[in-house]
């Protein structure tokens, strides 16, 4: 094992590999930082380049893109309030208020360090526990997936903002939007009204960009002139305090570890991934916090939870891939393809047949996260420059990036019309003080829930299986507890508020 480890390390630490990895890391960060550009896209562009490289070299480069990509989304989330990738939705909740509150440097540093530790923790778990964890993950059937999604839906309660009712409505709108297009099982069109535009459905990323980016950008335009700091998005600059922030992150060990474990667990389940992990980690951090009312106003815990959670899915996703040859996400599937093209069959025997490769990938993960850290720390000042650019330049530029990114997802012009329409809906909802995160959560979770419910009932028509399979039962009980907990805390808040204020809203 040590031999294999050293052999792998030897290949990763070759000079040219490191240079390629550095380029990959920067590319991943930049791609993820631009709203609309995704990590998957960056990795596809890397794939043909790796045909000409050694297998481990190619995979190392892709891993550095991957790790960089899970961090890059933080940048636009913190500075623009727009999640750069689906994995950084929860990052906007606290990093953006923190940046607007005059601490953009701290928001970025917190996120970068949390991402770094999240990746490292997930890599450690990957190294020590990949085979047994993968075996558990592979046993989970549609029943467990469905129950997990039911549990995940209950976190809407943490995302509702000012009004429970409006939050729930937004969640239901999201679930409804997710049903448009071909049904996930048979490909039959639903709610498409025979329109060619709606035929392929509403791609999740289009909804994400439309809802968050367009509404945020229009909000910026609207604000202009009203706010004091005309021009730049964020006032004066800016202290990073890189090392003291590192200490600050480490001062939240429970949150850091819990969020990373959530990320690893969700990442290890094929099909779920970072877009759920960041929200779940945020929800859990908020619930176990002594000061939940600080969440959403710029608390360090929120940033740490989201960023550690999403970065940890990188290591988590590799668990089923390295241990069993089963990709956890589209990105993992592309990584596998890159190996297979070189004649390396990826499957349960990978660690036995190519130990140097498997251990080399572990080393590459660590190297990639270090590179991400160095690149981010060194270039943070550059990113913050973005905030010096007057709004009349930055808003159209970001808008253009969103449109290009939305097109590049599927190369469909019709997606752009959808983007515009969804953007208007998002802006409308935001103006009416509807929270947008529950909507996006509905769009993410709806299809997974539907697919697994139908799959479960196709496998066995008996509904009670959901309660007799132990893991499924535990998840359903957790969902129930989560709802009870939320209702109780709403009631408690109401009681507290009542003497002081006349309630206007029913909730």
């Amino acid at each position: 094992m040590l031999d294999a480890f050293l052999a792998g390390a030897h290949q990763v630490f070759a000079f040219d590999t490191l240079i390629y990895m550095l380029i990959g890391s920067i590319a991943g960060i930049v791609a993820a930082a631009i709203p609309g550009f995704t990590v998957t896209m960056a990795i596809i562009l890397t794939l043909p380049l790796t045909f000409a490289m050694d297998p481990l070299q190619g995979v190392s480069v892709m891993l550095s893109v991957y790790v960089g990509g899970y961090t890059g989304g933080l940048i636009s989330a913190a500075l623009l309030g727009i999640p750069g990738t689906p994995s950084s939705v929860a990052t906007t909740f606290d990093a953006f208020p923190m940046a607007r509150g005059g601490e953009p440097g701290r928001a970025l540093s917190l996120g970068v360090w949390a991402s770094f530790f999240g990746t490292v923790i997930s890599t450690v778990i990957l190294i020590v526990a990949a085979p047994p964890l993968a075996l558990i993950a592979v046993k989970l059937g549609p029943w467990e997936y469905f129950s997990l999604i039911v549990f995940a839906l209950t976190i809407v309660a943490s995302l509702v903002g000012n009004s429970l009712m409006r939050g729930l409505i937004a969640g239901v709108i999201g679930l409804g939007l997710a049903t448009v297009g071909p049904d996930p099982m048979m490909g039959r069109p639903r709610l498409t009204f025979d329109s060619a535009i709606l035929m392929p459905g509403l791609p999740f990323l289009i909804v994400l960009i439309g809802i968050f980016a367009i509404s945020q950008l229009m909000g910026e335009v609207e604000d202009d002139g009203k706010s004091e700091n005309k021009g730049a998005l964020i006032p004066d600059v800016i202290e990073f305090k890189t090392w003291s922030v590192m200490r600050e992150v480490l001062m939240h060990p429970v949150n850091l570890v819990r969020s990373s474990l959530i990320g690893v667990f969700i990442g290890a389940l094929p099909g779920a991934g970072g877009s759920i992990a960041n929200l779940l980690a945020y929800d859990q951090a908020k619930r176990s916090s002594k000061t939940p009312e600080e969440f959403g106003k710029g608390t360090a815990d929120g940033v740490i939870a989201s960023e550690a959670g999403n970065s940890a899915t990188a290591g988590g996703g590799l668990i089923p891939m390295i241990a069993l040859g089963i990709p956890g996400s589209a990105v993992d599937a592309i990584l596998m393809a890159a190996l297979m093209v070189h004649g390396i069959s990826v499957g349960p025997r990978l660690i036995m047949d190519h130990p140097d490769l498997a251990y080399g990938m572990f080393v590459a993960m660590v190297v990639a996260s270090l590179m991400m850290l160095v690149v981010c720390v060194l270039s943070m000042r550059l990113f913050l420059r973005v905030t010096d650019i007057p709004k009349q330049f930055i808003v159209p530029t970001v808008m253009i990036c969103c449109v290009i990114g939305a097109f590049a997802l599927n190369n469909r012009v019709s997606d752009l019309y959808l983007l515009g329409a969804i953007g208007l809906v998002g802006y409308g909802l935001k103006s009416l003080d509807y929270p947008l995160a529950p909507l996006v959560l509905g769009v993410i979770l709806g299809p997974i829930a539907e697919t697994n419910l139908r799959r479960a009932l196709m496998s066995d028509g008996d509904w009670t299986v959901f309660f007799t399979r132990p893991i499924s039962a535990v998840l359903l009980v957790a969902a129930l507890l989560s709802v009870i907990f939320s209702v109780r805390s709403v009631l408690k808040m109401r009681k507290k508020d009542r003497p002081a204020t006349d309630e206007q809203d029913g909730d």
Binding site: P48, V138, L140, M186, L324, I326, A330, A333, P348, S459
Partner: protein, 314 residues
Amino acid sequence: MFRKIAVAAGLMAAAIAGPAQAQDYPAKPIEFIVPWGPGGGSDTLMRLVAAGLAEETGKAVPVINMPGVGGNVGLAEFANRPADGYTISQIHEGLLISNGTGITELNWDSFMPIALLTSSPQYLTLSKNDNFSTFEEMVAYAKEHPGAVRAGVTLAGVPHLHMAMIEDAFGIQFSYVGYEGTGQRIRALVGGNIDIAIGDVSSAGQFVENGDLIFAAVGMPERTAEEPDVRTFKELGKDLDLAVTRGVVLPKGTPQDIADALEANLEKVMQNEDVRTKIQNVGSAPVFLGQEEYKTYLGKLSDTVNRLVGKLAG
């Protein structure tokens, strides 16, 4: 001034005449619309073909993924592209099934089939379970317990067709569970959430080697080099051809000489040893059928699909 106009006119004439002439083809990059998402079988194989074609012609061949509605979004867009040979696309069995089940109006003859390039042998794969461990035992069990064997398939997709062909040939009945993609099916098979599935060497081979899964039969005319111990359906009594074959098509109305030039280029690509090795590495066989043979093949396939389509539409 006059001379400038004359030169410009000459250039324009050349530009107009240019693309139509096969000896110049290709004179510029060829866009390759792959109507599936990145990372899948079609994407990986067609990227290898695209890289080979770029090397052969000296022009770039950018791959454009246009996924959606089982490949039909990309193909619908492709059907509207100019028929000049500078946009090519790829089809497989899935298109014929989508047409048969009414998902799309497009069919294989909505395009000009140019060449069949890869064939991926499909194996009937069994999970480790208490009821059966060979093909014969599975058939016997399924006859005794109709509908008890859970088969993981892409509903109304190629694996569904393959399973329906097996049901039809051996007079048995499965119950179907929908999964997207071979990776998902194999995972469910390993986890014991389904009993049988269609798999291939690249996704399931190592599980078979490990003893976690069993290859019960292969849908090829002869045993494969990778799994010489696995019997063919022919040996088991029924001549079933279960393969996923991928080929390149042009929009209808492309000049014949352009089509011939592309066919010739692709034939050379498929003789390229590097391309052949890489295609084999990802679990497929490099093959080559030219325009006429490919059309005959698709026609025959179409008959099979139409015969069994009633089973798939449910």
